[in-house]
Structure formats: structure tokens, C-alpha cells
């Protein structure tokens, strides 16, 4: 049976690094699409979120890439925009740059923390190996 006792700290750290790098990729998509008024479905781009879940093994896994439908679109007055409605307003993505940048910092810090765990663990293993000298 897969349990946390049987999982190497190495695998747990790797799962964390994978999850955070995936998160970073999604955040960069959000930032790149901050002004995309026309997505593939004709609507403005909706920000994406990574949903993480914990495994019985202690590893983290990516549950799904969710779409933020709760936050409303930003409305910008831009009558000359071909995507503008009758009243001259254009629906812009529900991406908030400061929020994305905070999440980006958090993702990269978490990645660093997982890498630090990996490094420390291997230092511990190395220490044990030194006893064999």
C-alpha cells in the first residue's frame, strides 16, 4: 500500500517542484493574455487556476486546471475596438496583474523551498555515505 512512510522525500520534493512549475506556466498564460479580448470561444480570456490535491503518499498532484468564472470581466470603454459592444465597452479578461504577480512570486518561492528540501535530503544521504569511508 502506498503510504507516506514508504515515499522517498526525494519523490515528494519532485512532486512539489512539478506542481509549482505547472502553476508558474498557468500564471504566465494569464499574464500573457491580460488584454486578450477574444479567446478561442469568442469571449474575452478567462484566467486559469491550478487546483492542487494531496496524495496518500504525501505527494502533491495537479487535480485540474480550472477556469475562473466567478470573477467578472473588466469593462473598458474603447468604442474604436472591433470587439466593442453597442455602448462602446469592451469586455477584457478577468486577469488582475498584481494578483498574478503575487502568485508568481509565491510559486517560485515554493519551487525554491522544494528544491531546498531535495538538496538537504541528499546532503543527509551523503552524510550517511560518508560513514562508509
Amino acid at each position: 500500500m502506498a503510504s507516506i512512510q514508504r515515499t522517498s522525500p526525494m519523490d515528494i520534493a519532485v512532486s512539489g517542484m512539478r506542481a509549482q512549475s505547472r502553476r508558474m506556466r498557468v500564471i504566465s498564460t494569464n499574464i500573457a493574455n491580460v488584454s486578450t479580448s477574444k479567446g478561442p470561444d469568442g469571449e474575452a480570456y478567462r484566467r486559469k487556476l491550478v487546483e492542487l490535491a494531496s496524495d496518500p503518499t504525501g505527494q502533491v498532484r495537479i487535480e485540474q486546471i480550472a477556469t475562473d468564472t466567478a470573477t467578472p470581466f473588466r469593462r473598458v470603454f474603447e468604442p474604436s475596438n472591433p470587439d466593442a459592444a453597442e455602448d462602446g465597452y469592451v469586455e477584457m479578461p478577468n486577469v488582475d496583474l498584481p494578483v498574478e504577480l503575487i502568485n508568481l512570486t509565491e510559486a517560485s518561492r515554493s519551487y525554491q523551498a522544494n528544491a531546498a528540501v531535495m538538496k538537504r535530503y541528499i546532503e543527509m544521504v551523503d552524510l550517511t555515505t560518508e560513514l562508509l569511508k
Binding site: S8, M10, V14, R18, M118, I122, D126, T129, L132, K133
Partner: protein, 118 residues
């Protein structure tokens, strides 16, 4: 008495497996951006354990299997190499290799001690 696999044979099987694995991981990392590339893994521990269970010693090298894995998340080109996973394996494999080497060194040192007893 059944023939027991000697320590040096076991260690050399481990060292051989770990060095093949090192090369395979390096190949995976090198191909992280190759369209359609599937990551490869090395399997030798099971064969080694089986050979040890038979208890008739290791006759010849332990089978080292290299196989491409199709599972896992793939990118748009079908490549399923994840840099984080490969680095984790690389570090773990390096630690194993070092441990085998140290133990082998100890076995040789023991022999040397036995030979120099006056």
C-alpha cells in the same frame, strides 16, 4: 551448500545498473525538447533481487532493461520528459552509485587487511 552470490558480483551489478541509468537520464534531459520523445527508464533491481532469491549466485550479468514510457503528461508534440522528475532521479541515482562504490571500496580494504596480516 548453495552457492551464494558474492558481494563483489552484487555490487558490480548495482554499479553497472546505476551507470546505465545515469546515461539514460542524461539522454532524457538532452531530449527534453525533442518532439515526440518518450522518456526512458532503467529497470534492473527486480532482476537482481530475483537472481539473489534463486540463491545460486549470479551467473553472468544481471539483465538491465531500458524501456520507453508512454504514460505521464505529454506536451503538444507528445514529449513526456519532465525536467524536475529527471533531476530527482539523477540525484538519487548518484547517491546510490556513491554508496555502492564506497561499499566496494570497503570490501577491497578488508581483503587488503587480510593479506597484510603478519
Amino acid at each position: 551448500m548453495t552457492k551464494q552470490a558474492n558481494m563483489i558480483d552484487l555490487l558490480s551489478a548495482g554499479i553497472r545498473g546505476a551507470s546505465v541509468r545515469q546515461k539514460v537520464i542524461a539522454g532524457n534531459i538532452a531530449n527534453a525538447e525533442t518532439p515526440g520523445f518518450k522518456r526512458r527508464v532503467v529497470e534492473f533491481e527486480k532482476a537482481l533481487a530475483k537472481a539473489m532469491d534463486r540463491g545460486d549466485g549470479l551467473d553472468g550479468p544481471v539483465e538491465t532493461k531500458v524501456q520507453a514510457l508512454a504514460e505521464g503528461r505529454t506536451d503538444a508534440t507528445g514529449n513526456n520528459v519532465d525536467l524536475e522528475v529527471e533531476i530527482g532521479e539523477l540525484v538519487q541515482n548518484g547517491a546510490n552509485y556513491k554508496a555502492y562504490m564506497r561499499i566496494l571500496n570497503n570490501v577491497y580494504k578488508q581483503m587488503e587487511t587480510a593479506m597484510t596480516v603478519q
